[in-house]
Symmetry: C2
Subunit: 238 residues, 2 copies
């Protein structure tokens, strides 16, 4: 069993949601059957969106520090339950070659339903930075997955508002904002909606949507469990 | 703002419950207003009850390692959301003099209702080890608090079963087991019940009890927030 390092705090409720899914999805009857976890949730990491827009300092040094602290405390698998921060994924992965760093967009797209031969019509909901930086388009290319990405400009304001509401702990308000966006995306012909910001699955139970909602946090947790658990060769911590 | 170190994983759901309370009780509108957290949840720490009974290896070296890893990653306040592990609290505190280590039993008893002049009649629910090692009796003595502790032998089997059920993720079963114990304690004249095992608050919303239920996890989270937050002198991480 390998120790999982969680680079968290972006935001705290999203990290908490990831940790809960990790625990609930792990087949375990007692403490010692759960995955050992080291989490660094540095809530003071410079704002990712401001940095990406050139309005603030880069979070990369703090992200690398967090990843190294996880590895120094024994982590051999790393996950970062924040989509936008994956803009710096490659630089972080280079800094911690001792660990296997799982990419949230790759895992989310692997969890998408199949649409047969035709490209699947996906709507990506996330921060405007995540949408604009092509995080999921790049992941689809890596996976060789044919996707027709819907234009989400018309719903971005509601999605952005929902994310901010979750960060502030206003869950009901966030659900109402996200609900409006989902209705528009369904009308626009989406076959599935990717919750490509880890604040959004926090409210997925409070919205109603007939389309499949792809939970990137859930997909990342499942991939971490598969990477950390090996029942035949439990070698202890770290 | 100080970084909080969480020595967790005993068990994972209890750690998760503590982390959720920490986030929800922190007055914050955005990520950077939340408390930076380093968590070491080594689920492979030797079983605390077996060690206390002389049937297994001591968890102390692993507990000290976890505390040191938190401090090395910047923590200046430490908390351990596991009551039984507090048997080793003093030895751990000596090993990490750089950090302020908050004691869960002290914080829980500070959250107890007042009973005026007379000693309050408290029932302690927790592992049989926590009950027998006098963790809360010592804390009451430190705080100069007059307590008449009820004999809980008659309910220990149900409390122990409830704790094991939470660790296995069987929440409904755990609630039924704890409910039986609470009914007996109320009949026995308890004025309040201390949930002195961090698995128990996980199910406190699923049980019905007319007595105040003292949530040690909640009390510890509030004390950590007070110790870490200082709005006037935010000095960054670590």
């Amino acid at each position: 069993m390998k120790t999982l390092g969680i680079i968290g705090g972006m935001g705290p409720l999203a990290t908490h949601d990831f940790y809960r899914k990790l625990i609930e999805l792990t087949p375990a009857e007692e403490d010692a059957q759960h995955i050992p976890v080291v989490m660094v949730a540095n809530t003071l990491i410079p704002n990712r969106i401001a940095a990406w827009e050139g309005r603030g300092p880069s979070p990369l040094p703090a992200l690398i520090t967090a990843a190294r602290q996880c590895v120094e405390a024994g982590a051999r698998v790393l996950a970062m339950p924040c989509n936008t921060a994956h803009f710096w994924f490659d630089d972080m992965a280079l800094a911690v070659p001792q660990a296997r760093f799982l990419h949230i967009a790759d895992e989310a797209l692997r969890a998408c339903p199949s649409s047969g031969q035709a490209p699947i019509k996906l709507a990506l909901t996330g921060t405007h930075a995540t949408v604009a930086m092509g995080l999921y388009q790049s992941a689809a290319a890596r996976l060789g997955m044919a996707v027709q990405w819907l234009d989400v400009a018309a719903v971005q304001a509601d999605v952005t508002a929902a994310i901010a509401s979750v960060k502030a702990g206003r869950i009901e308000q966030a659900a109402a904002e996200y609900q409006r966006a989902l209705a528009v995306l369904q009308s626009a012909g989406a076959q599935a909606v990717v919750m490509g910001c880890t604040e959004l699955p926090v409210i997925s139970g409070a919205v109603h949507c007939e389309l499949p909602l792809i939970d990137a946090t859930d997909a990342l947790a499942r991939a971490c469990i598969a990477a950390c658990l090996d029942a035949r060769t439990r070698t202890g911590h770290p």
